[in-house]
């Protein structure tokens, strides 16, 4: 998986010219971001295809040259703060050129929501190894809980989203407990069954509105302004989708932060141990049941957040938005993007949200193409777009080397 001797590389002295390195990191980040941005935003099929080819070529080159990949990840890891700040700035500036393109902004919002969903599922499938094929149930529970609570009790969006996420987490617990005794296939089926049961209940229970769903979900209000009204920046009017872009970006940032903290915490390590070998994990002292239930709850929590965002953005939800196809789509995002890799999962979410849009030219053949792409990706790059990496302790080890040497 890693070329060369990692320990040896740690022994190498830290690189010179810190300013140059920072610049290089920002430069590479911005280039990558631009490519991805243009792929998302441009309408010209040929340019998009060309850029995609470029991105794919870059990935292949990095694969073939593990030393370059190592240097790159090392660079980004060392200059982490600069990279994160630049990425934040880029993300904040991204919608500004899109004033006349509410549709593209809408797509970006959906990409954001998909990323939150995919990261949520990644806790279960990627980190802990729980095959959950009914994730859309948590998504739906979050959306419905948020909408119904907001409408029935005239709650603000901000209260509703927190409550909805908690309700979803509760459902995570409810599905987690019975799943503890079941093994892979059976677990997959329990999750499918759960997803279907929730779907059927949403379709049939009175207070969920049945197949007609819930309408008239109130818009979020921020600083006294409804997010459904368009905003003016420097005198230029922007479509209301931009408000939701920033709203989603905010929650995505929260999700990414949580994912980062969990990954680097003991829980993250335990989750991985459970995934690798449950018996060995048990005999090492890990309470596997607690770990799994936590994975269910945390994953469901973020699905609930995504659901609430979706509901209050679109203003209308129905059980069709949370059926098994959606579950499988989210699973596809995680697997194709790279299991247990947050960056990969986001890439997968991006791909599977953008691709159907880009394939609109194919009209009816859209879904066929989507299916074929998934199959091809699984056959030729099963590790995902951005495969997971081992936990990187190089810097701690390097520091020890340095203090040890003195």
């Amino acid at each position: 998986m890693v070329g060369g001797d990692p320990y040896k590389l740690v022994i190498a002295p830290p690189a010179q010219k810190p300013a140059l390195r920072k610049l290089a990191a920002v430069g590479i980040l911005t280039t990558g971001f631009l490519v991805v941005y243009l792929i998302a935003v441009l309408r010209d099929q040929w340019i998009v295809l060309g850029l995609t080819g470029l991105a794919v070529a870059a990935l292949i080159v990095l694969d073939r040259r593990p030393a370059w990949k190592w240097e790159l990840t090392d660079l980004f890891a060392r200059e982490r703060s600069v990279v994160v700040v630049s990425a934040a700035i880029l993300a904040l500036l991204a919608p500004l050129p899109l004033r006349r393109d509410p549709y593209i902004l809408h797509v970006l919002v959906m990409v954001g929501i998909s990323m939150i969903l995919a990261i949520g599922l990644n806790f279960q499938v990627g980190s802990t190894g729980i095959p959950n094929l009914g994730f859309a149930a948590f998504y739906g529970v979050g959306a419905y809980a948020s909408s119904l609570l907001a409408i029935a009790f005239a709650l603000s969006f901000w209260t509703a989203i927190v409550l909805a996420a908690c309700v979803a987490a509760l459902f995570g617990f409810l599905i987690g407990v019975p799943s503890l005794k079941t093994r892979t296939y059976h677990l997959a089926l329990v999750s499918i069954a759960f997803g279907l049961v929730v779907y059927i209940l949403l379709n049939n229970l009175g207070f969920t509105g049945g197949p007609n769903g819930v309408k008239g979900i109130p818009a979020p209000v921020f600083l006294g302004q409804s997010l459904f009204t368009s905003v003016r920046i420097f005198g230029l009017a922007y479509p209301m989708q931009m408000n939701f872009y920033y709203l989603t970006l905010f929650f995505l940032a929260v999700t990414l932060l949580a994912a980062h903290c969990l990954y680097h915490s003991k829980i993250g390590l335990f989750w991985n141990a459970v995934r690798e070998d449950e018996v060995a994990a048990r005999c090492s002292g890990i309470n596997v049941s607690t770990a799994k239930i936590l994975a269910f709850c945390v994953g469901a929590f973020f699905a609930g957040i995504a659901g609430s965002l979706y509901a209050h953005y679109i203003g209308y939800i129905s059980p069709e938005n949370f059926n098994m196809n959606v579950s499988l789509l989210i699973l596809g995002m995680v697997i194709m993007g790279g299991m247990d890799s947050v960056l990969g999962t986001c890439a997968g979410a991006f791909l599977l949200t953008i691709a159907p849009e880009k394939f609109r030219a194919l009209a009816d053949y859209r879904m066929v193409a989507a299916g074929m792409i998934i199959i091809l990706m699984l056959m030729f790059r099963p590790a995902g777009i951005v495969p997971r990496r081992l936990r990187d302790y190089r810097h701690i080890l390097a520091r020890k080397r340095e203090t040890g040497a003195r």
Binding site: N272, E276, D277
Partner: protein, 259 residues
């Protein structure tokens, strides 16, 4: 003679109609290395599985430091201080060598999950200390293993895998260490290293008791203080290696007829 730290009394394990372990009893004392030997299928690994909580015993009692641990969950037994290795090494394949050892340490720390949500700067110091301890443990076993600390566990050589598994078990300073056929598949050089490692563990970790399942009699002869022989789930002999190896019942069980 001090109190046994670990004892098993009348332990019986039945799977449906099959009695895998039949009224097995033995004691383990601190600083003692006890070998459990016997032909394949005699129930040795099953004994390990039962005492570590993976199966609940059908009959009998398991005591650790005076406390009965029958039916306790495996992770709680591990946290009490009983750790094991497996016949087919069960490493966390896609985690690094260092991570494997860190899991062994972290999982048995008190309030593991509460600590998991502690502030990051507190955690960073702890992580630093943990890595120090882990590296030292790895280094004391094998310099190569320490050198490869960031290597993926699945990419290790078989000998290194076994060493890592033992390191992971030792990471939490257990009181009882169960080794399941650690010498399986090793060449003579590796076997000799292994024997040294086992003896070194006993020297370094004062008070630890080691139970060893082994087929390689040279390992048993060199390391074991006491031997228990299992056949078809029953103990057919117990004592020192000399006693046991000259016992005609044992010879018959292993070789098919008295030598």
């Amino acid at each position: 003679m001090s109190e046994p730290i670990f004892s098993v009394w009348n332990l019986t394990m039945r799977f449906g109609g099959l009695t895998a372990v039949d009224a097995v009893s033995f004691d383990l004392y601190p600083d003692q290395i006890l070998a459990v030997i016997g032909p394949n299928g005699a129930g040795k690994t099953t004994v390990f599985n039962v005492v570590t909580g993976l199966y609940a015993p059908t009959e009998g009692e398991i005591r650790f430091r005076g406390q009965t641990i029958n039916g306790m969950a495996p992770h709680l037994i591990a946290r009490l201080g009983i750790k094991r290795t497996f016949q087919q090494s069960r490493l966390f394949e896609n985690l690094s060598v260092l991570d494997n050892v860190l899991v062994g340490m972290a999982a048995t720390a008190r309030h593991a999950f509460v600590r998991a949500t502690a502030r990051r700067d507190l955690l960073a110091q702890e992580l630093d200390r943990d890595i120090d301890v882990a590296l030292e443990l790895l280094g004391s076993f094998s310099a190569e293993l320490k050198q490869q600390c960031l290597k993926r566990a699945g990419d290790l050589t078989p000998g290194d895998r076994r060493k890592l598994e033992i390191c992971r078990a030792l990471a939490s300073s257990p009181v009882v260490l169960l080794l399941d056929e650690p010498a399986a598949g090793m060449d003579p050089r590796e076997t000799a290293e292994l024997m040294d490692d086992i003896l070194r563990v006993r020297r370094l970790k004062r008070g630890i008791g080691i139970i060893l399942i082994e087929h390689d009699m040279s390992v048993v002869r060199k390391t074991a203080d006491s031997v228990v022989v299992l056949s078809y789930g029953k103990i057919i002999a117990a004592g020192t290696f000399a006693d046991v190896s000259s016992n005609p019942t044992v010879q018959e069980a292993y070789l098919g007829s008295s030598v």
